[in-house]
Every structure is written in C-alpha cells, then in structure tokens.
Symmetry: C2
Subunit: 249 residues, 2 copies
C-alpha cells in the first residue's frame, strides 16, 4: 500500500509538472525528467553521481548558450541595418540576469523550483537560472528549431517590448560609435590613467577622435567610466553640429 | 563586350568561391552572397547602406552565438559527468580567438578574406572573425541542425584534439573546485586587497576554504592571481591527502 501511494504521488507530481510546463510554455514535455532536473536548484541537490551533483547547473549552461543563439538570430533579422555593437547591447539587455529573473517571476517559474530546506535559500538569481535551464531542457527535448519558435512566439514577442528596449538601449556610447562610423572618424575609448590607490582606484578614460581627446571621465569601473565619457563626448559632438537629430540615424 | 567580360569575371569569381567553400566545408553554398559578405573584412568595406557598413561584422556576431551553442551542446553530451565550470572552460578553449585564428589558417580561410589595400591591413584576428562569420552564413543558408552536424563532423572532430584539451584544461582552479564540492567544503576565491599603485596595481587573491585562507597570491590581473593561487591551494590540498590521485575524480 505504501509503495502504491508513493507511486501514485510520484505520477501525480509528474502530471502536475507536465501541466505547469504546458501552461507556461504551451506544450506537453516529452521527457519530463529533463524538466525536473531543470527546476532543481543547487540547494536541493540530493544525489551525487560520479562526483557530479544532480541539479540544474549543467542545463543552465546549455540553455544559456541556446538562448543567446536564438536571441542573436532574432535581433539579426529584426534589425537588418544595425551594427553588431547595437545587436550585442540589445542582446545583453534581453538575457541579463535581472531581465531573466523578472521573466521567471512573470511566468511563475520561480514557484516551480525545488529548493533544499527553506525557500529563501535559493538566492536572487534562481529564477533566471531556472529559466535558462528550462530552455536547455526544451532544446534537448525538442531540438533547436522548436525551441527557437517557442522562445520567439511565446517569450520574446509576449514578454519583451523590443521597441522600448531600443529606445533605452541607443546608449551614448553607441550613438558616438555610429556617428564616428558615419562621419569616417577614428574613434577609441582608451584608459589613459588611474587615480587614487588600492581600494580607491579609479580608471580615467578618454574618448579620442582621430587621435585627439575630446572628453574624459573617471569611475571605479572601466565600464562606468566609459558610460560617463560617452555621454560627455555625445554632448560635445551635438554642440558642434547643426542638425543633431539626423546624426544618430 | 566590357559588360560581357565583367559578367564573366563576376560569375567565375563566384564559381571559385563556391568551390573553395565546398573544399573547406564540404558543401556547395546555396546563397553565395552570404559567404562573400562573411569573407569581407571591415578594411574592405566599400558600400554603406542606411549607415551600416557592409562587411562581415554582423555575421561574425551571429556566427559567434551559433558556434557557442553548438560547442555547448557538443560538450554537454560528450562529458555527461562534468560540471558546468569544466564545460565553460573547455568551450572557452575551443572558441578562443587564438584557437579560431589557428583554425582559420589550417582551413586556408585566411586566404579567402577580402581586405582593403594591403593584405596585412586585416590584423591578427581577421581569420577567427571570418570563421565565425562563415558559421553565421552557413546557419542562415542551411539552418541550425545542418550547421551543428557540419561543425561537429568537419571541424571539431577533425581539427580539435578534445582529449588533449581535457588534459590541459583540468586547471588547478577546477581541481580545487571539484575537490571542495566532493568533500563538501565551502570554497571561494576572494580579492583581499591590492598592492602597488596606479599603473603598478596588483590584485591580492586568497583561496578560502570554510572561511579560512589556505593560500594567497598576487598578480596584475584578477584572472592571473586566481590561477596562481589555485595552483598553490592545490599543492596544499595534495600535501594533506594520502591518496591525492583519487581526489580530482
């Protein structure tokens, strides 16, 4: 009787997961064990086989790569006249940890994750990690083309406002880069020094046009300093133009 | 007559490229213009359409993502008992710029690249960039499954000695990580300070096991310091074990 109950409960758990995957992703999974693994957070690892902990980390690695490829393809076709810098930035925005965590919440995926002990043990990025792992599971279950269509039709087109991301994403840096390409100027963002010392170390970055510094800024990270200097450079470029609105096009 | 000559030369150039792609990748491309674009280095950019320079940079962006996905899948299936840290390091090794540049040379792809002006204008990584761009072209031409099989059968299995990469790649860091996971120790590599100043700035990194520093090292880059400290930590772990060979399991 005990075994009977366990079996029943085992199959009814599986049935519930089948239904949840159907609700979130629009199809009944073929190999349910892939999805169970995809939703097993590292804190819930029970089994270790050949030194490998059985949780969703390997599937997350796979799903991350598949998701990146699908989004790269989607953006490549959606923006035929945008350069690779723009495409790269747009992709980072879509697949960032923050973005995927929010997505997992919207999909209710975070409620399906198995964690060990208390629920809050799983940490902040468990949702995004699980989403990537589920993408890996769908890919192994149904292949690339199926996964690509599912991600575009049920995820990107439904949960991302791509036009709004474009607005946000036309960063000062990419505006400056596009301007330089269009006007055939040599442009570089170069670390020209560091200020402060030890824990206080800041990078000084210059925006150089045809070998001349047009703006500089400093920040604790290279990325931060670049963002600041790009904004300064863009203001300077604008101030020297008569029809600034046409330049970014 | 002039037009006739031009047309003839145009088609015979295309035929030569068709044949080259067949020789290198084993199939006659459907859409040859994708491959012409994939082999056009940025120094050879002639046309600009809607502010976009027509060269291989967009295809390189796409091909990079497709190549990463294919290699992730390949390694995931080839090493079912390796963790995601190992898979990530192995992939970096296969798709690194150095590795892809060498590959492009072996394939003779570097000789097919169009560059503007002198040939040496193209820079060191033009080969690897062009390889990625060609992967993007194959993907657009024939789809993911075709590209995946071609890359595995004609590139990875022929040009990479995966077993040798494994030997090289079982880095001290991954050995220490695997040991900690197996023995259930909390492990971290932490920046605990910086030495020197400005251009001489070095990072000091500690390997910490269950909150205690077991080794430390410094280097100009965080990555370099981690590598050094991982080697020291591994020696210390080994020296405390009786059967060291079994640990890396």
């Amino acid at each position: 009787m005990l075994l009977g109950n366990r079996l029943r409960s085992y199959f009814s758990n599986d049935r519930a997961l089948h239904q949840s995957i159907r609700n979130v992703f629009g199809y009944y999974p073929g190999n349910i064990s892939l999805f169970k693994l995809a939703l097993r957070h590292k804190s819930a690892t029970q089994k270790v086989i050949n030194g490998l902990r059985l949780n969703n980390e390997r599937l997350e690695y796979l799903g991350d790569a598949i998701l990146s490829a699908v989004v790269a393809d989607f953006l490549f076709k959606r923006f035929p006249y945008r350069n690779e810098g723009f495409l790269t930035e747009m992709r980072s925005k879509i697949v960032s940890r923050t973005s995927l965590n929010k997505l997992a919440m919207k999909l209710g995926l975070d409620k399906l994750i198995s964690v060990g002990g208390e629920r809050n043990k799983k940490g902040k990025s468990a949702g995004g990690d699980a989403f990537e792992a589920v993408v890996g599971a769908i890919y192994l279950d149904k292949g690339y083309e199926f996964t690509r269509k599912l991600l575009i039709n049920r995820i990107i087109n439904v949960h991302f406002d791509v036009e709004m991301l474009v607005e946000e994403e036309i960063s000062f840096k990419s505006r400056v880069i596009e301007w330089a390409q269009k006007e055939k100027h040599e442009l570089s963002f170069t670390v020209i020094g560091q200020s402060g010392e030890k824990h206080n170390n800041q990078y000084i970055i210059a925006a150089m046009v045809d070998g001349e510094i047009i703006a500089q800024a400093n920040d604790y990270s290279i990325k931060g300093a670049e963002k600041l200097v790009a904004e300064k450079a863009w203001q300077i470029i604008l101030s020297k133009q008569t029809a600034p609105d046409e330049m970014a096009g």
